[in-house]
């Protein structure tokens, strides 16, 4: 095992684990960074890293191009408010930039209250740690914002897990917690992995090293079953690939449970001892026999029986549930079914089954807010971010409990997550109800851009109206160009010390050190930037930390090793045992069982019942789809649209400016079935206009049988950093941005989920990328929320959004 830092000739070689920036989940892949004269000369994998063993994906391999990119912002910048939208930035000092941010915050706090400040964070990134800390501890506001409609990423699965069984986040077992990995005598390889709405090879989601699935297939003969609306490459290596119609898979999951129960492929001993509500669940799924699911999902009935049997008979079996669970309005129910499938086989937290975590939350997650008292000790080193903010007088309990936007309407979202409910927050920005917002910070988040914000033109207009905005990021992007006044340049993963823990600590395989290898100009780490601003906003708290290491040791690494030990180890395996529920390692009180009301896995969920949701899973058709909108589909939007499938060379909207990544996929691709393409006279490589009731974009045709006839998949995240950045073009933000086709506020009863995986659309052939979305000819459709009263008819309890905007007039978009 090599040291964390060594000298070879004139090069220093650092071993480090990666997180972000650049964009990634906390996978923590092992890097060896070669440095000469303070500059990176080469990036390669670290053969000593127990999980990745020298492997890396293209994004880290291209790090040199990324960190030294000529377009990277490497000095703080400011811009006059009246120049928002124009490329009129001016370099300034860190002191001036942080003064601008801190003074704006102080002024706004004094005038309107701290709650009128919001801090946005982007998905998966290290900023997941920082944006609640920015909000609660730097500004004293409860309003941290993850802007994706319906919080449609990870949050819903976290909630399912927290409500039904605890254990943070269930993950497939790939011996990821043991130093000897697959050689550990405790480990048994899964016989079958059920991969549901997920492509682990491309997404390395949340800390799962995706290619481990291939390792286990090759080494142990592990078999896989894949459920996906597309044939994925991994799916071609599966025993079964169930190609569902987008938005219908809750029906399929119910049918799986039906088969397992009917054929008695369950572990009665486990069910008896450790679960609650099995009989009720079985009774419920009687309404969804495979024959009915087959019709709904467009999957052969025989295949459902076959696949479910195969899963039920496997010993052990494991479930990998994907993002698709989060992005639909029927997703909570899908999640309920999948939790049931993980557990009724008896392989929950068993070797080769689906592992649970000890639920360490890195201080970010709201822990039982009820027990917090502002008079408790000030510097309790186990306090969550929220507790710290309350005890140090940075935020009052009243602010936290009464001012967090949207959680009164959607308390279910507020229960497990530490943010606002995003769709309600957008309405608040537009309508000033319940109060007016005045300032926003964007910490590695780009809601006007192409990754998370549905109807991005609404975010654009709403955020531009605020009094002051700043961003912490690496590259100029549409949100910053349109809305911000100050740009604070942040360091990448190899430019700062830090820690990376898989699943944000919720189910930790290992604790990885992010070791600082180089300094790039004036860039600073997130923590350094927070410290600088924090010392100006709440000096009493922040002055306790001399530097980032002091703060990290206090609030970031604290439940683990001290920093120097973490760094020297590079990778510290968590070594968590199996069967934690049998050893009292899941419940805060140390009792055996699960941290739920009944102490068991609640297949019948009291927690959901408490939020007026059905305690048992049910199938509900997508808000936009063939069941709900047959006429509209017949008239104008005959296709089911799905989106979000990953490419490994990009992380959502990132990396489009990195040459060796962009060349792998130069243009956004819309997948069309050959029959559909032929009908519309579209050929491979043609530009295609894709339109929904909400807008219209262009992508390039990829004609492929992997997508079913009648279904269309659009790539997400595409913009053109090489194009004009000033408004209205904003780097071609509106041209290929699939979020233009998606509404906000089409959420489940709980406030989670949206239409990202199941929308309706029409297509037509186009001549070029340009056309109606050319810079001098941009058409931004009005928000159709008021017009399409989907919410009113489909979920009558909700109110539609009014406030349709004439973008042409108000935002200066010419026609």
């Amino acid at each position: 095992m090599q040291e964390w830092k060594r000298q070879e000739g004139d090069e220093t070689i650092f071993r480090t684990c990666a997180w972000s920036p650049p964009g990634c989940h906390p996978v923590g892949c092992g890097l060896q960074v070669h440095v000469k004269d303070g500059k990176v000369t080469k990036i390669e994998g670290d053969p000593d890293h127990p999980i990745t063993r020298g492997s890396l994906c293209p994004r880290c391999l291209a790090l040199k191009e990324y960190i030294y990119h000529p377009d990277r912002i490497i000095h703080p910048m400011k811009r006059a408010k009246e120049d928002r939208g124009q490329d009129k930035w001016e370099q300034c000092s860190w002191d001036e930039a942080t003064d601008l941010v801190a003074n704006a915050a102080k002024e706004i706090t004094a005038k309107y209250g701290a709650e009128t400040i919001a801090v946005f964070g982007g998905t998966g990134r290290e900023a997941n740690n920082w944006y609640p800390q920015w909000a609660n501890l730097v500004f004293g506001t409860p309003n941290s914002v993850y802007a994706q409609a319906g919080w449609s990423c990870y949050g819903p699965r976290m909630t399912n897990t927290a409500f039904m069984m605890g254990g943070g986040y269930p993950e497939i077992d790939y011996a990821a917690k043991f130093p000897d990995r697959y050689d550990d005598p405790r480990f048994v390889a899964p016989e079958v992995i059920l991969i549901w709405g997920k492509e682990p090879l491309r997404s390395n989601p949340d800390g799962l090293y995706g290619h481990a699935v291939i390792e286990m297939m090759r080494q142990f003969g592990t078999k896989i079953i894949v459920v996906d609306p597309r044939i994925t490459w991994l799916g071609t290596r599966a025993e079964e690939i169930l190609q569902v119609l987008p938005g219908t898979d809750t029906a399929l999951a119910m049918a799986f449970i039906y088969v397992l129960a009917k054929e008695d492929l369950v572990d009665h001993d486990f069910i008896e001892k450790w679960t609650y509500g099995y009989d009720e669940l079985v009774e419920r799924v009687q309404e969804m026999p495979p024959s009915r699911a087959a019709e709904i999902c467009g999957v052969p009935e025989e295949q459902i029986w076959r696949a479910a049997r195969m899963y039920g008979k496997a010993k052990p079996s494991s479930v990998a549930w994907g993002l698709a669970t989060d992005e639909s309005t029927n997703g909570a129910q899908l999640g309920m079914c999948l939790v049931a499938l993980m557990s009724i086989t008896g392989f929950l937290d068993a070797p080769g089954g689906t592992t649970l975590g000890m639920g360490d939350d890195q201080g970010s997650v709201v822990r039982d807010g009820g027990s917090i008292s502002a008079d408790e000790k000030v510097d309790d080193a186990t306090d969550s971010t929220l507790e710290l903010a309350l005890k140090n007088g940075i935020m009052t309990q009243e602010t936290w409990y009464t001012k967090r936007i949207g959680v009164d309407k959607y308390p279910c979202v507020g229960q497990v997550l530490w943010t606002v409910q995003p769709d309600e927050f957008l309405k608040c920005l537009e309508t000033n109800d319940p109060y007016q917002m005045h300032m926003a910070g964007f910490v590695s988040s780009n809601p006007v851009g192409t990754a998370i914000g549905a109807e991005p033109q609404r975010w654009w207009r709403a955020l531009k109206r605020l009094d002051f905005n700043f961003a912490v990021d690496l590259f100029m992007n549409p949100t910053i160009m349109a809305c911000c006044d100050v740009f604070l340049p942040v360091a990448s993963t190899i430019e700062h010390d830090g820690m990376v823990v898989t699943h944000y600590g919720l189910n930790a395989s290992f604790y990885g050190a992010q070791n600082k290898c180089v300094q790039v100009d004036e860039c600073k780490s997130d923590v350094e930037i927070m410290l600088e601003v924090g010392k100006k906003t709440y000096p009493d708290f922040w002055n306790r930390f001399e530097d980032d290491e002091a703060y990290n040791n206090f609030h970031v690494f604290r439940s683990w090793l001290p920093w120097d030990e973490l760094r020297d180890n590079v990778v510290t395996m968590s070594n968590e045992p199996y069967y934690k529920y049998k050893e009292g390692k899941l419940r805060p009180d140390g009792q055996v069982g699960f941290p739920t009301q009944t102490g068991r896995v609640e297949l019948y969920s009291y927690a959901y019942a408490n939020f007026d949701e059905d305690p048992l899973p049910y199938y509900e058709p997508a808000a936009y789809g063939p069941t709900t909108m047959p006429e509209m589909m017949k008239e104008k939007y005959p296709f089911v649209l799905t989106t979000g499938a990953r490419r490994q060379e990009f992380f959502h909207s990132e990396h489009k400016q990195v040459p060796s990544l962009r060349q792998i996929t130069p243009w956004p691709q819309v997948d069309l079935n050959p029959e559909d393409a032929a009908e519309y006279g579209i050929q491979e490589g043609d530009w295609v206009e894709v339109f929904s009731p909400y807008g219209c974009i262009r992508q390039m045709a990829r004609v492929t049988p992997i997508i079913k006839k009648g279904v269309v998949h659009c790539m997400h995240g595409f913009w053109y950093p090489e194009e004009e950045g000033s408004e209205p073009n904003l780097f071609g933000n509106w041209k290929s941005n699939v979020n233009m086709l998606m509404p906000n506020s089409v959420n489940a009863k709980t406030g989670f989920g949206n239409t990202f995986k199941s929308m309706i659309c029409g297509i037509r052939k186009a001549d070029s990328l340009g056309g109606p979305n050319e810079p001098d000819h941009i058409v931004l459709e009005k928000s159709r929320q008021g017009e399409f009263t989907v919410q009113e008819t489909w979920r009558p309890a909700d109110s539609p959004v009014v406030d349709p905007v004439d973008y042409e007039k108000e935002m200066g978009v010419t026609k």
């Binding site: 080469k42 990036i43 390669e44 994998g45 053969p47 063993r53 020298g54 492997s55 890396l56 994906c57 293209p58 391999l61 291209a62 040199k64 090879l201 290619h211 291939i214 390792e215 297939m217 090759r218 044939i231 490459w233 991994l234 799916g235 071609t236 290596r237 079964e240 690939i241 052969p300 295949q303 490994q648 060379e649 040459p659 060796s660 060349q663 792998i664 492929t704 049988p705 992997i706």
Partner: protein, 114 residues
């Protein structure tokens, strides 16, 4: 001199492109130059194939720019593409060693001499 080769289990090459980038990093090639190149044989369902059984392959093959990472191998390291391969399907060895692997695999595998 023993001749070396690259062995690829192409049943499980996921087409991730990591080998391409790793090779460029190692040799300081520009983005246009490939020591190894990932080709795709796009998905198709052959008429005779069973329902749900698809053909879709990636093949990573070394070009004439590949020197089998002579300098690395001399220092006792694995070739860059082999070390980086995410699916661990690229291997390096003598022609004989590679041929043995090929025979053991028995299907969907290849040996390359750049």
């Amino acid at each position: 001199m023993t001749q070396h080769a690259l062995y690829l289990d192409l049943e499980f090459c996921s087409g991730c492109h990591s080998c391409e980038l790793a090779c460029r990093n190692e040799h300081d090639f520009d983005p246009e130059t490939n020591g190894i190149k990932v080709l795709e044989d796009r998905p198709i369902h052959y008429p005779d194939a069973p329902e749900g059984k698809w053909h879709w392959d990636f093949v990573a093959y070394p070009t004439e720019m590949c020197d089998l990472c002579e300098a690395r191998v001399e220092r006792g390291l694995m070739p860059a593409c082999v070390q980086t391969c995410q699916a661990k399907v690229l291997e390096y060895g003598t022609i004989e060693e590679c041929a043995k692997k090929l025979a053991e695999k028995g299907k969907k595998a290849a040996i390359f001499l750049p």
